[in-house]
Symmetry: C3
Subunit: 260 residues, 3 copies
């Protein structure tokens, strides 16, 4: 497999992403490079970690996933690559890879220290170009993983807010607002009762029972449903739930079982 994905906060206005692609293609002209997103807010490790975790498993085995949200570039933070049962992950060791890695079977963690693999001179402000892109290209070409650098035991993990089981249901929070204004919570779809009938609350606001698709409520109404990322989601038929219901990341959401 020659597939490399890119997740960054570089935006698409400048030449930064194009430069990484040039560096990759110079080493591996057959690479297929896929943009996951470059519109992570500058420095938003959590947003990038969430995006990568949400889609990395839809790619073929052997895909190299590169994530570069890297405010500490040039400083003390390490650069790492992680081999899992199915993929390679490459990026700074600042937690940006950690939500994706939480669901993977880890095989090996290496610190990127083999300077022969880098682009020289190595800048102290653009490791996406000088370190991560060439390492990803070498991985896509099949370089032995152990050549990247010395092993390390672990990697930095971002905290993930676990939802809480309550007597009458489950309580969580909003963790992501998407382009449509849908509010994704940390409450797994699987924690919803199979029989349904739960009521969803955003703060104190009653959203009614869990439905299964956007237009299951009339236009102009909010709806809670099992989201495509495996997490309960609050949407709005015909608009942005974030705007129309005033939802923000961190807002409390609860699901309560029907009382009998």
């Amino acid at each position: 497999v020659n597939i490399i994905t890119l997740t960054t906060d570089f935006g698409t206005r400048d030449w930064f992403v194009g430069t990484m692609k040039g560096v990759i293609l110079r080493l591996n002209p057959r690479a297929t490079i896929v943009d996951l997103t470059h519109e992570i807010s500058p420095g938003d490790l959590r947003g990038a970690a969430f995006a990568l975790a949400a889609c990395c498993r839809y790619f073929p085995k052997g895909t190299v996933h590169v994530a570069v949200v890297d405010p500490g570039v040039g400083g003390a933070r390490k650069a790492i690559a992680v081999q899992t049962a199915d993929y390679f992950f490459v990026g700074p060791d600042n937690g940006v890879l950690s939500f994706a890695l939480a669901r993977e079977e880890i095989k090996s963690v290496r610190r990127l220290a083999n300077e022969k693999l880098f682009l020289h001179p190595v800048s102290q402000t653009f490791h996406g170009r000088d370190v991560f892109a060439p390492v990803a290209a070498h991985l896509s070409l099949g370089i032995p993983f152990s050549q990247l650098g010395p092993g390390q035991k672990d990697f930095i993990r971002l905290p993930w807010p676990e939802p809480k089981r309550m007597q009458d249901g489950i309580e969580g929070e909003i963790v992501y607002l998407d382009h449509f204004g849908n509010a994704i919570t940390n409450i797994p779809n699987m924690s919803l009762g199979a029989r349904g009938g739960e009521s969803v609350f955003a703060g104190r606001k009653q959203l009614g029972p869990v439905k299964s698709f956007y237009q299951a409520v009339p236009a102009g109404r909010a709806v809670a449903l099992p989201g495509s990322s495996g997490l309960l989601e609050i949407a709005f038929n015909g608009g942005s739930a974030a705007e129309r219901c005033g939802l923000r990341i961190g807002d409390r959401v609860s699901v309560r079982r029907p009382t009998r």
Copy 2:
């Protein structure tokens, strides 16, 4: 041909487009995936239908065109694929494909019902990932079209505002505002007289005769010209016609022949 195009309202900020690409590449690692646009306004079927129609014919024979603007996902709307003399079109049967199909020679229309081709479990909120992407990948791999599902006679068409022939010319309206602020009308370039000399009006505002390129008028002036999509277009030398002339979709535009 292994080319698949994508037209959606998903934006590029989240992982939705990347996920579709992962699903496609898992089935067909040799696919060449081209983004037409992902910046259709949420739910804007007409905008997506117009964009797809404007460029689908520039692609090689055999290209699979996927359009996913799908507010009714998970509900009663059907999912279809349409085989034409030159292409495959895949998307919800809500009209999003209809402007493109209006110019194609239709060979077969199939409802997507063969669940073996889908990604499981099929969500009720993201058929781009679970239905349309895998079906497109299978089409790019050469699956017989009849295996997609049962035939259906027709598909849903969005209304297209036809321009009206008048005694002294033709009257139409603005149907699209592009990134530059150019206002594209529904008046075909071919309906303009070969001898020229027509006057173009946007509402009551005189724009003068039809010219042939943007800088054919002085800077700071509006200009009407035969657009690259085959439709009369109103532009502004050095600015946005939409802003500078206050043009909106639906505004009336007329072309009047010179009186002798």
Copy 3:
């Protein structure tokens, strides 16, 4: 090599870029097309020229670089292709290629005049589709360069503001503001003393000595450092230097050696 890069002011909201890719793939289905950026401000020749120059050399030998910022399309401006020791460059002869070409060894400059290579009918508003894309595709397929059209001696160059050597240092200006709000100057990293100790001023504002990475200053502070494009850059730890320091393109920046 089958690599073609695209730099335009077309935006990604409409079908213009997708159309160019369709035209290229129809001629060369094996082309690898890389977007450098499509978010150049409409008509901003300097911005496009700078972006292309900043990244073109990271691509493999033989890459075809296409830049289309072309307000004069359809008028008197020429269309050209330039062969250099390592690359091909294709675009309007309005200066958009000139910053990149300033660093290349020029082998041949040809005016695009061989209409057999164009897409017909050639519009007067979209040469990206009708002229530049098909010519780039033919170049990626190995067409002899001389077949593009008659040679011409030179091409139009945009002025580049050279920094000035002063008795106590060097004085330049801001030439680009990137997505992060970093302000890139025209002062080469190489002109900075190896021993360091220089003080950087933006206008009259003291930014302190040149550092080497963003977090080398505390959060909430501006920092001057050797940028990844080879030019001195002003950044801000934890924010946008452009916003937080009120910097604009053209603002004066100076580097002064320590007095002993």
